[in-house]
Each structure stands twice: as structure tokens, then as C-alpha cells.
């Protein structure tokens, strides 16, 4: 299997004034366009950026940009909310009835460690321009054997089952400089009914290829009767500046959502300007029978959104 690189789809020059980064892209196919949801950061105070969801529309023929970025409308979080300090990623999927569901990861800054996260649930009846939630709290959060950092949700229906892939925090360890750095791994929860899916098992389902590996941003696609997962992984420490330790793309498949076979060679996308240092936060969608993967390049989405097509 080879990937044909399409290069950079969207760059930061598209963003409104004051915003940077296009992070955690997810593509939703519509009859006449592809809508790309992502989050972008604006400075709220010195050293304090807040991440908010947007979408931009692409041509269904050649994936050229056909709209301005649109900031989506989500309910304002109340004081004490799991998402009081922003959303990343927004994690949009099609629900069973064709409407859109978002499983946004909410961020809340902490003392002791940088941040805690949890996954919410929102619905849209207008293809993602406005969103409502059925309650103010998160749908999935720290529970039992997942003590913190439940985040990065991906939902897909697989046969008669509803599948949720996500990551959970394993532990925080201090670097040589004394900064707590987090480690998270990918888990999957499933049920016949989405409302009955529960997290908390603390079971990492994707095999690890290095010591102290950090896995993030799983995204599921049902294809040829099995599940295909793209994700990214890195080392725990020294990943921000050192390309060798930074995010790379991973790939795994499963027949049952429980047992996963990892083969990162199946998502080998050549690097070039803009994604030389890292490839991160991937997702995938089908268009005209082909699989397209979206991902972020250098600077955690600072360089924009990249794409590649699977040739097979």
C-alpha cells in the first residue's frame, strides 16, 4: 500500500486575525463538498491561548478551498466546566441518522500538572454550524483505571456495535528539568448502544513500539469489514523541539475492535517542507472510493493541515 501525498491543504494564512494553528483535522463528506473541522488557537492573555473549533469547506472534486473558515457556535462553558479553557480536538463524526455528533476534548488548566481533559458530547442539526449539548458536563472523563487525561475521541458504527476509540492518561513523570510530562495510550470501548459505552478499563489496545511511548489522536474508519485506525505517537520527553522524539503516524487494524494489529509501514507518507519535523493528529475519510488521510505537520498544527491519498 502506498500513499500519494497531496501536500498542504490549508495553511495558517487562511485564519482570521489573532488566530494560529489548524489542529486535529477531521473531514466530513457532504453531497456537494468536504467539510474539514479543526481547532484554532487565539491568545486570551499573555502565555494563555484558548483553542476553539472551526470548519472550512473544500471542493469535492479537487479538495480546493471554497469557503472562509467559519467559527462554529458551541454553548459557552460555565465556571468549573471541563472545557473552560478550550476545545482540542473537536472530533466530529456522522451519527447513525446522518446528523453530526462531536465528541470534543475539553481542556481545563490545573495546578500541579498543566492540564486535565475530558470528552464531551454535542450534536448539530445544521451540518456543524451550531452545536448543542444535553448537559454541562463531560460524557467521558477520568474514571477507575483511567486516572486522568481522557481525550481524543473517535466514533464509528461497526456492524451492530458503536465503537469509541480514545486516549487515557497513564501517569505524569517529571523531566530532568522538573517539568511534569504526561503519557497517554489508546483504548477502545464499545456497546450496542452509544449511550451505554463506558470508559475506565485502563486497557491499552494498540501495541507499543518503544519504551515510554505516548499514543494520541486515534481515528477510526470502517472499511472492507474491518476497522482501520490511524493515530500518532511520540516519546514522553524532548518531543517539542527534537524531531527524532516527536510525533509520527501509526496504523492498526482490527476485526473486533478489541484485538489490534499494528503496522506503521501502512501509513508511510514522505516528509517535505512543513511536515519535516512531525506528522501528528491524523484522521481519515472516504471520497469517491479512495481513503484520504488528513494530518498536522510541524509545530503541532502551526504549519497547517496536510493530506495524502491511499493508492491501493
Amino acid at each position: 500500500m502506498t500513499w500519494s501525498k497531496l501536500g498542504k491543504l490549508l495553511g495558517p494564512e487562511l485564519l482570521p486575525f489573532g488566530y494560529s494553528h489548524l489542529t486535529g483535522p477531521v473531514g466530513i463528506t457532504m453531497p456537494d463538498r468536504v467539510r474539514i473541522f479543526f481547532t484554532s488557537r487565539r491568545v486570551q492573555a499573555p502565555n494563555f491561548r484558548i483553542s476553539e473549533p472551526f470548519f472550512v469547506d473544500l471542493s469535492i472534486d479537487d479538495l480546493s478551498v471554497i469557503s472562509e473558515p467559519v467559527k462554529v457556535r458551541v454553548p459557552n462553558p460555565q465556571l468549573g466546566s471541563y472545557r473552560i479553557h478550550g476545545i482540542f480536538p473537536f472530533s466530529v463524526a456522522k451519527s447513525r441518522d446522518g446528523s453530526l455528533v462531536a465528541l470534543p476534548t475539553g481542556w481545563r488548566r490545573q495546578r500541579g500538572v498543566d492540564v486535565e481533559t475530558a470528552i464531551g458530547q454535542m450534536h448539530s442539526l445544521d451540518f456543524g454550524e451550531s452545536w448543542f449539548e444535553t448537559g454541562p458536563g463531560p460524557r467521558f472523563s477520568a474514571l477507575k483505571n483511567e486516572p486522568h487525561l481522557v481525550c481524543d475521541a473517535s466514533y464509528v458504527q461497526f456492524g451492530s456495535e458503536q465503537i469509541l476509540a480514545y486516549t487515557f492518561g497513564v501517569d505524569w513523570k517529571k523531566s530532568l528539568e522538573g517539568n511534569p510530562e504526561r503519557r497517554y495510550l489508546i483504548s477502545v470501548a464499545k456497546n450496542k448502544y452509544f449511550d451505554l459505552i463506558a470508559n475506565g478499563s485502563g486497557t491499552a489496545v494498540v501495541p507499543q513500539v518503544m519504551e515510554d511511548e505516548v499514543q494520541a489522536h486515534p481515528h477510526l474508519l470502517q472499511r472492507n469489514g474491518r476497522l482501520e485506525m490511524v493515530f500518532c505517537y511520540r516519546r514522553r520527553f524532548d518531543f517539542r523541539e527534537n524531531a527524532k522524539s516527536s510525533y509520527k503516524l501509526g496504523f492498526a487494524t482490527s476485526e473486533d475492535a478489541i484485538n489490534w494489529i499494528r503496522n506503521d509501514d501502512l501509513i508511510s507518507i514522505p516528509r517535505s517542507v512543513g511536515d519535516e519535523e512531525m506528522q501528528a493528529y491524523p484522521s481519515q475519510f472516504e471520497l469517491n472510493g479512495k481513503v484520504i488521510v488528513l494530518y498536522n505537520g510541524d509545530k503541532f498544527g502551526g504549519s497547517g493541515i496536510f493530506a495524502a491519498v491511499k493508492e491501493c
Binding site: 465556571l79 468549573g80 488548566r109 500538572v113 477520568a142 474514571l143 486516572p147 487525561l149 505524569w172 517529571k174
Partner: protein, 318 residues
């Protein structure tokens, strides 16, 4: 049925104990009656920079004289949680249930988010001796849900009708006053067969007297064919000794689901001693022989210590 409170006075204050770990308060008593003693679990707090840091321990009272201290914990009976976990900034409160040969603790674990002063989730820990506890999980069993967005705290662990029950409080909102942010929270319930999977009842159990009333310490006991609950409540502002200060309320239920509030049925007074002249709060009910007692805190939410009162049944006047 109504009850009468007969105060037996202050039993213990922080100054009575001298190991290094005891801080400025004795808070949130939770009582377990053992074969040879009455054990009162409490939390005590020290100052950690700008924040308080609470840890749980216990002291023991004589079975025949629940005002006489006969032992106490030389060190905390549960350590803080790991870096980044829901309980890394301490434990308050801690409720213990003894079932067969096991002590099970439900406790509020504290984090320190940057938007508000704290958040709390409920975890479980176990012990065979009752002296030192080990966590069931590194994460909480009652954390955030869509309907319960923050502050699951003040657990009371009980076993009724074949199920474990955690009566607890759930945050409704953070209220900004000129001086500080204060949370408002109400009493809720959950149950479990195995202490692992918990079903939340999903409704506030006790109607509030004022819109921003906060309720805590919902202790439930069974007596004469009926469930009874003592709890404490306060207003959102001026509650540290002022007009909105903590009082003890009462409700009753036949099925643990539908509760009728009637604070007059207990009418728990402040004073006349100085240690509980401003507030009475955080009740924990226990039975020794045929007698019922309440452990509770007084002024400053435990700054002055923990006292005991006798809870006597008053015949209904027809």
C-alpha cells in the same frame, strides 16, 4: 417521629493530638462502631502555600463513654494520590463502612484547577485493619458526567437493601461573590452491587430552602421502619460564622428515593457552649447498643473540633 438533641459537648480538637501531621482543624467526622471501640474518622488540614491540604485519620472513643478518647492514628490512614490524579491535592471527607472483615472508604479527592479553587471526585479504598487504606483504583468511581459537571464530594458509604450506597453531593454552579467564588451543591445518591459499577440516581434528593443553598454530609440511618437522613446546609455567602452559616437538616424516606425534608423534626441547635455557638455541621449518626448519637463539627467547620450529641426519639404528640 421527631428527635431531640442532647449535647454531650466537644470531644476532640486538633490541639488534643500532637503528631506532626495534624493540622489546624478536625473535620468531617465519620463513625464506625467496632466491637471494642467507637472509631471516628476525620480529616485535618495543613496550609500548603495558599491552599489547604487535607488528610484523613481517626481517633477512638470508649464504647461505654463516647466522650473518652482511647486512641488515635499516628499518621494519615490514606496517602495523597499520584501526580496528576484526582486526589493529588488531598482528601476530604472520608466515610468508612465495615462489611465483614473489610473496611471500605469512600473519599473526596481534591484537584486544584486554575479557573476555580478546587474540584472533587469520589474514590474508594480498602483496609483489613481500618488503620491504613489502599486505593481500589487510581481514578475516581464517581467523577464527572454530563449531568454532574463538577464537585462530586461529601460521600457517605452505606449498605442498604442488598446494595452499596454512596450518598454524596454534586456541584450545581459556582457563584461569584465580591470576595470569592463559592460552589453550590446538592445531595444525590448512587448504588452498586460490587463497588465497581455505580448507578446514579440522577436527581437532587433534598429540596433547597434558598436558591443557592449548599447541602453536605448526607448521613442515612434506618430506624423503626424508615430511613432518616441528617445533613448540613448553608447559604452561598457569609457562611463562615455569619447569617448563612451551616445548620443541620433532616429528611425521611421509606424507599431511599423519595425524601421528605422537615428540619423541625430534629431542630439541632447551636450552642450554648462557645465551640459550636455559630454553626453545627457535618453530622455522622451512629448507634451503640440501643442509643443513637451524632458526631458533628462546630465553629469554623471543624476549627474548634468535633463534638457528640445524643439523638433521642421524641414521641409524636397527637
Amino acid at each position: 417521629m421527631a428527635f431531640r438533641i442532647e449535647k454531650m459537648g466537644l470531644v476532640a480538637s486538633a490541639a488534643d493530638f500532637n503528631p506532626g501531621w495534624i493540622g489546624s482543624h478536625l473535620q468531617a467526622p465519620n463513625v464506625v462502631v467496632l466491637e471494642d471501640r467507637i472509631r471516628i474518622y476525620f480529616t485535618t488540614r495543613t496550609r500548603d502555600g495558599v491552599f489547604f491540604h487535607s488528610r484523613p485519620g481517626f481517633f477512638d472513643l470508649a464504647l461505654g463513654d463516647p466522650t473518652k478518647i482511647i486512641g488515635f492514628s499516628e499518621k494519615p490512614c490514606l496517602d495523597d494520590g499520584e501526580l496528576g490524579n484526582f486526589d493529588m491535592f488531598g482528601i476530604y471527607p472520608a466515610s468508612v463502612l465495615k462489611i465483614d472483615s473489610f473496611f471500605i472508604m469512600a473519599y473526596g479527592g481534591w484537584t486544584r484547577p486554575q479557573d476555580v479553587g478546587f474540584d472533587v471526585s469520589i474514590g474508594l479504598a480498602r483496609s483489613s485493619s481500618g488503620d491504613h487504606f489502599v486505593r481500589d483504583f487510581p481514578g475516581p468511581v464517581l467523577g464527572k458526567t454530563m449531568e454532574e459537571p463538577f464537585i462530586q464530594s461529601s460521600p457517605k458509604l452505606r449498605f442498604y437493601e442488598g446494595l452499596f450506597r454512596i450518598f454524596y453531593i454534586s456541584g450545581k454552579s459556582w457563584v461569584e461573590s465580591p470576595q470569592r467564588q463559592e460552589p453550590s451543591y446538592r445531595i444525590r445518591a448512587s448504588c452498586s452491587e460490587d463497588l465497581v459499577s455505580w448507578t446514579r440516581h440522577g436527581k437532587d434528593l433534598i429540596p433547597a430552602l434558598t436558591p443557592n443553598e449548599s447541602q453536605a454530609s448526607p448521613d442515612v440511618f434506618f430506624f423503626q421502619g424508615k430511613y432518616h437522613m441528617l445533613f448540613c446546609f448553608r447559604g452561598a455567602n457569609d457562611y463562615l460564622g455569619g447569617r448563612g452559616s451551616y445548620r443541620i437538616g433532616y429528611a425521611s424516606s421509606y424507599d431511599l428515593v423519595a425524601w421528605v425534608r422537615d428540619d423541625e423534626k430534629v431542630n439541632f441547635p447551636v450552642g450554648p457552649d462557645s465551640w459550636d455557638s455559630e454553626m453545627v455541621a457535618y453530622p455522622s449518626v451512629f448507634q451503640v447498643g440501643l442509643s443513637w448519637f451524632v458526631a458533628y463539627v462546630g465553629n469554623g467547620v471543624g476549627e474548634t473540633g468535633i463534638g457528640i450529641a445524643r439523638l433521642e426519639v421524641q414521641r409524636d404528640v397527637v
